[in-house]
């Protein structure tokens, strides 16, 4: 991405953790399962390196600056390892390299990007996929990298893979699934598939903040002028140094001035296909 890259190297679990000094690190985040067992943790050491461990996935150490990653996939995680690296590790690398990331999908139309911002489960990938089927180009499905390049807010391509909840994928016709790209894996929960993405960064034109609501009868679009929507949509919260926080604030202020920010309230019963059509008709 514009000269930025990440050098990745595989290693063993033992070698990876032998290089990590837990005595000079602190835990930033963790998850436990229903039985209280640790499921995931993320630590940072005094030198600015990050270590991630996820049960059934494996472990990674991200070097300070985010340009190199050491990975140790768990034996049973072949199918999930790539998704873990793309979805969890690379966004941290991007932020460490000076690029902001938002929890958003995005499509390209007429040379500019429209992002769909929402927490998991609201439908941001589904909307983007339906926009792609309707003629837009996919840019990213879950994490949007944005940077300021010579005064312009640029949205960067994500990995050429996408993932839909099982039900959403089932609702696509066979022809639509073929048009999207080869299926990678499918289970009861999700289906992931290869997808072509627009190859180059493009100006960010609009951001649609999607929210399910019982307060509206139809899809309602209003200006999204609360800075908290932008600042709270970051994908990476664990990098909290002063330089990053100031850069994030500056970039969000520029986005707020240059891009069309829209709050989209979605009533129950509106399908992703119908929502995508309404947003396209609204010029978003």
């Amino acid at each position: 991405m514009d000269g930025r890259g990440v050098e990745y190297r595989d290693t063993t679990h033992d070698e990876l953790w032998a290089r990590w000094d837990a005595d000079h690190a602190r835990r930033l985040s963790y998850l436990r399962d229903a039985s209280g067992e640790l499921d995931f943790f993320l630590d940072r050491d005094d030198g600015g390196r990050y270590a991630l461990w996820a049960r059934s996935y494996g472990s990674c150490v991200i070097e300070a600056g985010g340009e190199a990653v050491l990975g140790a996939p768990a034996a049973e995680s072949d199918r999930h390892w790539q998704a873990f690296v793309i979805g969890q590790v690379l966004p941290i690398c991007a932020v460490l390299q000076g690029v902001e990331t938002f929890h958003a999908s995005a499509v390209v139309r007429d040379g500019g990007a429209t992002a769909f911002v929402a927490p998991s489960g609201v439908g941001k990938t589904s909307v983007a996929v339906h926009r792609a089927l309707a003629g837009a180009e996919m840019l990213t499905d879950d994490v949007l990298a944005v940077s300021l390049e010579r005064g312009a807010v640029m949205a960067h391509p994500g990995a050429p893979v996408a993932s839909l909840r099982g039900g959403e994928y089932e609702r696509l016709s066979i022809q639509e699934r073929v048009r999207l790209g080869p299926e990678r894996r499918r289970d009861d929960q999700r289906a992931s598939f290869d997808i072509e993405v627009h190859a180059e960064p493009v100006p960010l034109r609009a951001m649609c903040f999607l929210e399910r609501s019982t307060d509206v009868r139809g899809v309602r679009c209003t200006p999204a002028d609360d800075p908290r929507l932008l600042l709270g949509s970051s994908f990476v919260f664990v990098v909290q140094n002063s330089a990053r926080l100031e850069r994030q604030l500056s970039l969000c202020a520029v986005i707020a001035r240059r891009a069309n920010l829209v709050r989209v309230q979605i009533p129950p019963g509106i399908s992703a296909r119908a929502l995508a059509r309404e947003l396209e008709e609204a010029g978003l």
Partner: protein, 102 residues
């Protein structure tokens, strides 16, 4: 006829300094102020945001008040009173430092 003696003189000769660990950026309807030392964000309405910017570039609080009074076509006395109140609030939150103007 307005004279300087009717103006809230508490901070007249004081300079408001935005410390290095405080950054702020204007958004369309709000100025967001970030204290990098605490990680806390604060929001100012657009007028307060203009006031903060004026305070930062003016040698004294009174000078900022006079500039803003001209911009907003308001009495200097009233603007100064509002500025003093704003400065008190910002100083309490560690977002500005008040020092004697040289």
């Amino acid at each position: 006829m307005q004279t300087e003696t009717t103006i809230d003189a508490r901070l007249s000769g004081v300079r408001a300094v935005v410390p290095a660990h405080v950054v702020y950026r204007a958004f369309p309807r709000e100025t967001v102020v970030l204290n990098l030392a605490t990680g806390l964000y604060h929001g100012l309405n657009p007028v307060a945001g203009d006031m903060l910017a004026a305070l930062e570039r003016s040698p004294t609080v009174l000078a900022a008040a006079k500039q803003l009074a001209g911009e907003y076509a308001e009495d200097v006395e009233r603007v100064m009173s509002d500025l003093v109140e704003l400065c008190d609030g910002l100083a309490q939150r560690g977002l500005i430092e008040l020092e004697a103007s040289s």
